[in-house]
Symmetry: C2
Subunit: 187 residues, 2 copies
DNA sequence: GTCTATAGCTAGATAGAC
DNA sequence: GTCTATCTAGCTATAGAC
């Protein structure tokens, strides 16, 4: 067995950045090959089901990252709810590179991707809502209020990412995160 | 001259619905031909620069619709600011089919589209912000507050469209519009 | 495990008849 | 103005050498 030219993790990171920037249909195997340093045939060796499997792997990789960094921060009961919220929001800022990066879920959800990922997107969004709902209840909100606030939080994260990108102004994303934090902590 | 099989307006409507659903790269000329009832070569007769011109025309058509229906409603000084706001939000609900349809601007902004439309997207978003800022000042907000509120409004519209689509729950979009209205009128 | 070479197809786009 | 037929380029995917 020849050694791998690039380990799985780095491979996934490279694939992620392309899919994130171009979407599913907008990404070609040629670009993926260039971004990873592997030839197309080698990509097929690593992902026998081709482009679709690459996108799915990217999706799963990001889902795991979110689980480990964001949800676990929001749910870490060894900290106060206030600290959990701050840590979670800080991780979210990292995930989106301060607003410069788009939501991978959204990048993959257009076009054919919608068919491929529709159910996983719904599941993923609900996990986000549940994570923020947990913080809300820890901050003494009623379950109903906590869920409403969590939904509103996600709306603002996604919406501010769109405006940040569309207006090319990362302060929009930063202000939104700050606003979200303030609104939780003022309760 | 042979008669047109489909008038410009209907043609644009048909093209719009495909681009909206599939994005720019995700849309093929075959699909556009099927959706319009014209053959590919006929589409090239109507849009000599091909797919890109079709997307640009769709973009301009939607921009005009928004101008005539939404901005003019928000800015119609023959009504009170409260009524202008309500009318504008009602038109927005129509534009997005109550949350079932995505923002065309967003659909075209991924992938190669980002290069094609980047500047127009920024201009378009700013027009939205200005329109809502106008309503805010008419409601006695300071210019600064009015612009902040307008930006927040757009964030929530875009974000709620994403969650509505991702969770397949149109009540999210409806609730967000209601919330936006309440927040303006409570000022 | 990675590579070169290529198959097979579909995309966007054009030529020219009617 | 619309059509059939076709071109070319690029795509996803595979075969087989190393």
């Amino acid at each position: 067995m020849r050694p791998q030219k690039i380990v799985d993790k780095d491979l996934l990171i490279a694939l992620t950045s392309v899919f994130r920037a171009k979407g599913y249909e907008g990404t070609s195997l040629k670009e993926l090959a260039e971004a990873t340093g592997l030839k197309k045939a080698s990509l097929y060796h690593r992902f026998p089901n081709g482009k679709q499997e690459m996108a799915e792997s990217v999706f799963n990789y990001m889902a795991q990252w979110v689980e480990e960094h964001i949800f676990s921060a929001l749910n870490d009961e060894s900290f106060s709810p206030e600290v959990r919220l701050k840590n979670g929001l800080a991780q979210i800022k990292t995930l989106y590179a301060g607003g410069k990066e788009i939501c991978i879920l959204r990048a993959l959800s257009m076009q054919a991707g919608m068919d491929l990922f529709e159910q996983n997107i719904s599941i993923g969004l609900n996990k986000w809502i549940n994570a923020f709902t947990g913080v809300g209840t820890a901050l003494q909100l009623s379950p109903k209020k906590a869920k409403e606030k969590a939904t509103q939080t996600l709306i603002e994260i996604q919406g501010s990412l769109i405006l940040t990108k569309g207006l090319n102004d990362i302060t929009i994303f930063e202000k939104s995160l700050q606003k979200i934090e303030n609104r939780y902590l003022k309760t």
